[in-house]
């Protein structure tokens, strides 16, 4: 009997083999005729202007930061959710306090304008 987590690794390798074999089969059949015009990045047929890797709107990173906080919170809450019926009201109120603090954080971010998209 092998542990459950080896099954996950088997599926991981099967997935890699799935994509890899699709690429390999197409490598055998497809034509290869690169040319200067064909290999330029698509920009509606115009000649490319400037670099595409530029400084980007900081909003995206703010949302990522808020997301990390909430994601960790949900990971904390998962084990609690499985057993909270057995633990009873005390455990519920402890988790409620935790969620309320996070709710306050969301409210703060909201009022501070971090959730505003301009």
């Amino acid at each position: 009997m092998i542990p459950n987590y080896y099954y996950i690794i088997i599926f991981l390798f099967l997935g890699i083999a799935f994509v890899g074999s699709a690429f390999a089969v197409s490598f055998l059949f497809r034509p290869k005729a690169p040319s200067e015009a064909k290999n330029s990045p698509y920009e509606c047929g115009e000649i490319i202007q400037g670099d595409s890797r530029i400084q980007f709107n900081v909003r995206y990173y703010l949302f990522a930061l808020i997301f990390v906080i909430f994601d960790v919170e949900i990971l904390f809450t998962m084990p609690w959710a499985v057993v909270f019926r057995q633990l009873g009201q005390v455990a519920f109120f402890e988790m409620a306090a935790f969620i309320l603090v996070l709710g306050l954080g969301l409210y703060y971010a909201w009022k501070k304008g971090a959730l505003q998209w301009q």
Partner: protein, 314 residues
Amino acid sequence: MSVIFLKGLAVLGFIAVSAMFSIWLERKISAWIQNRMGPMMTGFHGTLQPVADTIKLLLKEDIVPKGVDFLSWWLAPFFVTVPVVMAFLVIPFSSKWIALDLNVGVLYVCSVTSICVLGIFMAGWGSNNKYSLLGGMRSAAQIISYEVPLLLSVLLVVMQSGTMSMQGIVAAQEHGWFILKPHLTLAFLIYFISATAEVNRVPFDIPEAESELVAGYHTEYSGMKFAMFFVAEYTNMFIISAIATTLFLGGWQGPFLPGLVWFLLKSYGLVAFLMWMRWTLPRVRMDQMMSFAWKVLTPMALLNLLISGWFMVK
């Protein structure tokens, strides 16, 4: 050992067939809604059209644009498609048809499917194309924003059933589907809206909005690499519908017909609903979408969690 290998191969076969079937279904549903025929020439009512498309994609030249970030450009299709295969490990097609009933099944499937966003962002960054970069950025922001209400509503199901195993959750719905309980109806709505955004479907398809971003993060991909993005997109649709079926709609349980048939009926029913939405609703704006996730869905899911949690322990 060899059994799990066979199950894995069955999953790969299912993914290929399901993606082809979904593409055909989408084209037929769109045609039906727009009062035209859709594909008719290859096979009976165009049923062989996806096969022809696959062969065409297989024979396409693999165009590598100038200035790509080679590693992330090449690895992106893997990062998008491999998690899709891995997610099938815990999806319960019937009481017997499940590759492995992990005791953390729900958590596993949610964490694995959220790896896709990495692949999408790598595709956007690696392509050296302005549309791709914008599409990848938008997609990353959208997927991580909607991950929060999605997980919060999944949490409610875990609280209700007291287990994270997929079969355990199905068994907990033996005497009534979870969607019939009021607080879980709300959770289902939040889940389904967030899941629609997770898979970049209309009305949340701004990462690949054709009219402004050409094709978003996979603009520069062609041939088999593009096919992998396509397979992943359609299989992801099936996965979110399968999770919704398992968590809220009683899984494979149902009268008369065998479990497998019920499961596929419910899941493809939800897939068809997603397609119906695509051809009915207009696209929302970026700021509307982000504020809907953070200012409506997340507080709603948090309140739902607290209130129904209180009623469960009272």
